[in-house]
Every structure is written in C-alpha cells, then in structure tokens.
Amino acid sequence: MLSSEILYKIILILAVFAVTLVVAMWSTYAERKVAAVLQDRLGPNRAGPFGILQPMADGLKMFMKEEFIPGQADKQLFVLGPCLAMLTALMTGVVIPWGGDLTIGGHAYKLQITDINIGILYLLGVVSVGVYGIMIGGWSSNNKYSLIGALRASSQMISYEIAMGLALISLIMMTGTLSLGEIVGQQDAGFANIVYQPLGFLIFLICAFAETNRAPFDLPETESELIGGYHTEYSSMKLGFFLFAEYINMFISSALIATLYFGGYNFPFQHSLGLDGNMLSMLQTFVFFCKVFFFIFFYMWVRWTLPRFRYDQLMNLGWKVLIPLAILNLFITGIVLGFRNGFFI
C-alpha cells in the first residue's frame, strides 16, 4: 500500500517535471508564433509541419554553442546562477493541483504531488528565493550591464512581492485556508474566486508579470539599454537555462492564476455531465490545461502589445499604486467578511 503510494508519487513527480519542460519548450515556439500572428507575419514554419519542431532546432543550437565563461567572472557562482534559476522555477509545480482524483485499483490518487497546508506560503517562499539565480548570475558575470540587470531584477521582485502577498492575503482571508487543494475545492462548491476578488486578481496578475520578468516589466533584460541584462555574458545552455526558467515561470504562474482565481481544474456543470470518476478527472485536467494555455497566450499577447515601463514608472506603480490598492482590497475584504460573520451587528 505504502510502496504503491510512493511509486505513484514518483511517477507523478516525473510526469509533472516532463510536462513542465515540454510546455516550456513549446512556449518558446508559441511565443514566436503568437508574436508573428499578432504582427501579420507567419512565424517559424520551416522545421516540421507549421514549424512545430522549431524548439528542437533551437535546443540543438543552444547545446552546440560554445560554452564560454568570462575570465574575470566568478566561476562557481557563474555556473550556480542558471542552476538556481532553473531549480526555483521547477520547485513551484509541486503544490499545484493538476486535476481531480484518479481511482486505480480501488484507491484514490490525487493529481497533486503534495497538498501541504501552507501551500501558498510555500509558493511565496520559493518565489522570493527565485531572485537569487538572477542576482548571482548577474553579479558573477563581472559586467556592469549584468550587474544593473541583476539589481533591477532584485529590486523589482522585492517590490512586487509585497503587493502580491497582500493580494493573496485577501484571498486567504476569504477562503480561510492556505492549501491550494482546498481553495480549488471551495471553488467547485461556489463561484470562482475572480467573482469575489476582481481587484485582488488584477493586482496578482500584474505582480505575476513583474515576478516572471515578462514584458512590460522586462527591465532586467532590456535589450535596448542593457544588451541582455543579467544574461549578457552567458552563452550556450547556461543562457538556455535562464531563458527556459522564464518560460517555466510563465507556465507555473499561469497555472497559479488558474488555480487561485479561475477555479483550478473545475468547470461549470461538471457534476451534471454524468461522468464517472476517472473520466471526469481527465476532463478536468484537460480543462485546467486549457485555462493555463489561455493565460500563457495572455502573457504573450500582453508582451506584444504593451511597451516596456521606465524604471521610475515601475517603482511608482509597485509602491504607490499596487500596494495601497492591495491594502484597500484587504480592508474591503475584511469589512465584507466581518459583515458576513456578524461582527458588526
């Protein structure tokens, strides 16, 4: 019994790992294709049908390139940087519920690696540690562009973590739990959380963009002013790791947005379809991935629409707009919850 549970967990971990990598790989393709479509172009279409094998070609290119470490760089930290970026990007997938229960041989298995009861805190912890990969990589390159990119990344991530945390606190107050599994379960019973927390969702969305260093918040890697930002000196697969980590972060944060605010794997009228357990779970997983892919598309859509912020604008938005808004949201949530629980009567 126990060993089958462990075996199942190992299989699930490997599956989540593989799916994350595959999705991140084809996100690079999707990014180029979406950019092309939004700009009236065709995009990659030479490698395989519709250019579907383009990520393979890109990956091969990355592997074949010369591995170069600058002479003045700090060798150990230079290698550690991309590893940390990749590690923290992959760690987040652990707590996300990917679907309902699967019943195999009379035993229900959750499609979630672990449902720890501090799930959201775990997420915030991993996200806050995620900045080290960029910081260490940028500093150890011994290049002023890299250093400025690293400094920008760290200050940006710290600033937006606060607003993100405050937006999440309103959500936690409402749901009364820190476990992602329970949050999803509550959304099955009632409406999706976006109905109750539209402002919180907006703040979380903006902060998610800033935390993943995506446009319009891609100041750490501005090509036009910092060449490549923190990965200026990187080449070969170490550069690939940095770029890949960004796409993994994008995938995971899309999954988070779907989980926290859009009902996770639940979809309307799912229980009136008359499907049995396993079929329903698979359908739920499918629906969940549809939501995730929509948000990945949304990320790209925003990237190819909005121009980049200036640095002072970024800081103004973070500290002077989002944090007060998040506190206001917290306040309103508190009052509404107080009324509902009869504190003021």
Binding site: Q39, L42, N45, L306
Partner: protein, 190 residues
C-alpha cells in the same frame, strides 16, 4: 500641408481619471493586436512562392548574340560612359580574320565586365547601346560569399545559343517598327 487624413491633433491636456488608470487604454490596445491575429499575413515565402515580376523588370544583364550566333557588342564604350555607377569595364580588340562567325562587327570586346555590387540596375547601358547588344533581364543576381564573384565577365554575361534569353518584352513598339526596316545595316540578320 496635409498629406493624409490619418494625422491626429495631439494636446497636452491633463489626463482624465479613466485615462490615468490606463486599463481602458490597455484593453483597447490589446484588442487592436488581437484584431491583427485574424488578418492575413502578406508574407511571400520566397523560394516556393515568387512575387510576380513586371515585364520591364531590370535584373541581371545579358550580352545578346544575333540569330546566327555572333556577338552583337562592338565595344564602343557607350554603355560604360552612360553608367552612373561606373560598373562596366571593357577591353576592345580588332576582329581577326576568320572570326566573322563569332563577332558581328569588326571591333569586339575581348573582355567585358560588370561589377554587380556597383551596378544600380538603372538600365542606362541598355538605352545607350546602339547595337542592341546589352539588355537587362528579369533574372536576379544571386548572392555569393566573395566580392570577386560579383564581377561578371563575358562567361556569365554573353548568352548561350542553346539557352537564348528572350528580351522581346523590353523592346518598345517603336523599336519593333524600326527593326522591320532592313535597309539599315543594324537590322541585317547576318
């Protein structure tokens, strides 16, 4: 002066509250980009699809032979003089006895070179030529890796008799009329 009616008068007025929260503006912009997703891409995928070329397209030059296979060029140098980019160089030589089959005139170009990197494909050489020897064709000069490969000599410019190049589209009606007049030596076939 107003060139188009698309120009918009901008004013440095204070933004309204709706403008300052930017969300409606962002939404509008997102809709514009999304609308472009449903437009057809104007891309022409070059090696498979080719853009239609005008009959008067000015591409790689050809040095014509007449119907009997003799080179028409007499190395008068007018094309080189006319060339604004100074891309044409030639060496003239007197025709030797027994070469009448090869060269139409008594003087011919023993070497004739066009530097395709300098050439601007204006077609003035074609206009200057009194012998209807040089024409621009609808062929595109292929790219290579070496500069020296862009200097085209007679081996590349003179047309082969087994693969003649049709330049009739480049000849105006006036010229076609004139060519019927066989009393001029120019129009004699051999």
């Amino acid at each position: 002066m107003q060139l188009t009616n698309r120009s918009k008068q901008v004013a440095d007025t204070k933004m309204t509250w709706l403008e300052r929260i930017y969300l409606p503006g962002i939404f509008k912009g997102m809709m514009i980009t999304l609308s472009h997703a449903f437009k057809k891409a104007p891309t022409i995928q070059y090696p498979e699809q080719k853009r239609p070329i005008a009959p008067l397209y000015r591409g790689q030059h050809v040095l014509k032979r007449d119907d009997a296979g003799a080179e028409r060029c007499t190395a008068c140098g007018l094309c080189a003089v006319a060339c604004p980019a100074e891309a044409i160089t030639m060496v003239a030589e007197e025709r030797a006895k027994g070469d009448e089959k090869l060269y139409r005139e008594e003087k011919y170009a023993s070497s004739y070179e066009i530097n395709m990197l300098r050439c601007i494909f204006c077609g003035l050489c074609e206009e200057a030529c009194p012998k209807e020897a040089i024409f621009l064709t609808d062929r595109i000069v292929p790219s290579t890796f070496q500069r020296r490969d862009f200097i085209y000599g007679k081996d590349k410019l003179v047309e082969k008799m087994d693969q003649r190049i049709d330049v009739s589209l480049r000849q105006t009606n006036n010229l076609a009329e004139f060519k019927k007049n066989t009393s001029f030596a120019h129009n004699k076939t051999s």
